[in-house]
Amino acid sequence: MNNKEVELLLVEDDPNDVELALIALRKHKLANKIHVVRDGEEALDFLFCTGSYTQRTFNGPPKVILLDLKLPKVSGLEVLKAIKDDPRTRPVPVVVMTSSREQRDMVEGYRLGVNSYIQKPIDFDQFQAIIRDLGYYWLVVNQCPPPESFPG
């Protein structure tokens, strides 16, 4: 599993949200190569092959990272900063998905280089639609940078 190709990294601490996201993705047959981490620290371990992920080889970064902002230990924005600060992970598209309506979070996110910022709608139908569009767009439509472009 450690070396399995991961297309979508979901960083989300709330199990309900994880489940709903997975349901939505599954419904649209997008749930294949998904990896879920439950806090910011784990996310960084996974991406930089550290901590419990030391066995993982670095090559083959996810096509997209879905990042919640309110995370235990290391916050979403800190994770985002670490991703965008490191040349190895900088090309990976990051989509922030949050329940927060704080404008300053959004502004800060874009400042740190987030590729997309989405507010989770209350209405589940709308939520499903967003997950669907998002999955299609980043996993199917969007052209990811080739693996060669990731240094080290």
Partner: protein, 737 residues
Amino acid sequence: MAVIMLTSVAVLLLTVVAFTAYDLVTYRQNLVHRLAATAAIIADHSGPGLALRDEQDARATLTSLRADPGIAAAALYDKRGNLFVGYPAKAPASAFPPTPGNRGSWFEGGRLVLFEPVMVGEERVGMLYMKSDPHTLYARLRFYGGIALLVLFGSALVALAISNTLQQRVTRPILALAEVAKAVSDRGDYSIRARKVSEDETGLLTEAFNGMLARIEEQTEALRKDEEIRSFLAAIVESSEDAIVGKDLEGKVISWNAGAERMFGYTAAEMVGQSVTRVQSPDRPEEEAHILEEAKQGRTRHCETVRVRKDGQPLDVSLTVSPIRNACGDIIGISSTARDITEGKRAERLIQESRARLSGIIGSAMDAIISVDEGQRITIFNEAAEKMFRCSAVEALGQPLDRFIPERLRQAHRRHVAEFGRTGVTTRAIRNLQPLSGLRADGEEFPIEASISHNEIGGKRVYTVILRDITERKRAEDQIRQLNAELEQRVSERTAELTVANKELESFTYSVAHDLRAPLRHIDAFSNLLHEDFKAELPQEAQHYLENIRRSAGKMSLLVDDLLNLARVGRQELRRQPTPLGRLVDEVVADLGQETAGRKMEWHIEPLPAVECDPGLMKLVFANLLSNAVKYTRPRPVGVIEVGCLKMNGDTAVFVRDNGVGFNMKYADKLFGVFQRFHRSDEFEGTGVGLATVDRIVRKHGGHIWAEAAVDKGATFYFTVAGLEHGMKEEQQHIAA
């Protein structure tokens, strides 16, 4: 000159003629006497010869006549009258008369002829004839004529010389004098002087003439000066601001200057010849008569009185009336000079009033007012001072100010006053003179506040201090200071508490934003999944419950969003920037498209100005007001919504008006409270937070909001924002341009 010559020649001629005539007469008489004497001698000598007829003797006697060349001829006749002997002997007988004439002598053709009887004893023996030679006479005449000619010639020469000299001495100066006189009369120049050339009468004349000219010149100069002084005086009189009036002894105006014209309003033409009583005040009818009477007695009078102008306006004047005397000292008229002192009187009254007011102020002042002279002696001591220092004015006046200054401060006070006097500043508060204290008559010291001023009155420096007993105030100040300190302490405690509370609130709202919304989403999501995935297995009722759960979740989500907005408004700093309000309205109207879809709406949106505001929050204001308007016009076939800007009660306000269901103004005070709703939620959905948010935003922008409405008559919301008025003016200018 000719006159002189003629005169002298005539005089000379006359003299010569007279002299000659006299001489001739004398000569003839002498000749007669001499001839008679000679004849007598000859006759005597020739008597015997004749008597004897001795011719020789007779001839010898006659020949002795040779000694007298003046005898031209002589002859002796005998008794019978025949010529006996003649002389000169060679003369023919015809040269002698043939017969002797009678005894006597006479002149014949310029010659004296003489007959003398020749006697011997008593007997006449013959006659002697003698004839004088006229040549002597002629010679004598010629001689005289020559002398006369010589004298004439000489005297003519002398006269010529004399007249020449005289001309030099007399005529020329006189001629010069005449020329000068002509020049003087021709030119009227009396400064010309004749030149004095000699010390004689001409010189005197010249001097006299010059003296006369000098006097004439002096008098002319004096006259000219007189004239100058006259015109000068006339100009003074004319240009005087004072009314200068000349009157005769009956009080009739003779002269009326420009000052009088201005002062009384009558022209000189109107007044000259008229009685001066025309300007007399009717309530002083006898005044002018008195004035005249006094002036007639030679007295000059100064007085202040009232006169009346032509327009009836009374005039306060200061009057000087004095008699006018002629050269002999007789009073021939009266001059009166009037000065308008209406202004002065008014000023005097004002001064009196202001003095009264001032003393009223000083007397009633709450502060002690004390004036001191240069010697620091008290000259004013008002009632407040009496109370403050517990000393009556009677006691205080004339006393040194030191009496009311604590001893330890007297030195410093004196120094301060002296320094202040030197600064030239006329007022100054001496609050900074530390510590400032007064000394009551009973010895109590008390804190005072003072301001000092000085001015020069009649050349003497007067200092005035205004003192305030600040015992009470100091106490109050101390109290206030203490209270303030306590208050500050409390405030800082409260502020710290508030900061903590704010922090908590902030994290609370953040939690609400995140944590409260998440479960809601989950409720919605899972009930949705349940409904979708197990629809077939769920009874109808269970499906209905699920629906209710979902609706409640949605409602709560709205509520949370609104509450978040409200909290954010309170917490957030305003990010002001120039924002065109019209643009915000357009954006909001566009956002409302979904809600108005399918409805008939009329939008009347007037141009709105740009103001300095937080665009995000201001948009929230319009979003709330306009969505309300859309919501509450829903029952109307056509929803009419107006947005504009107007002046109202001196405020410039933006308004949003609708033709919706309105509300009862009875509840207007609750309108902007949180969770206040005027409609049931099954009529109109809502959280009751929107208007509270709007109110908070408007207030944060320095404005206020209010509403007018009536049930079923629509509602209008007005709000102001700082800078709106200015923005509106610019907008109007822009539109006008």
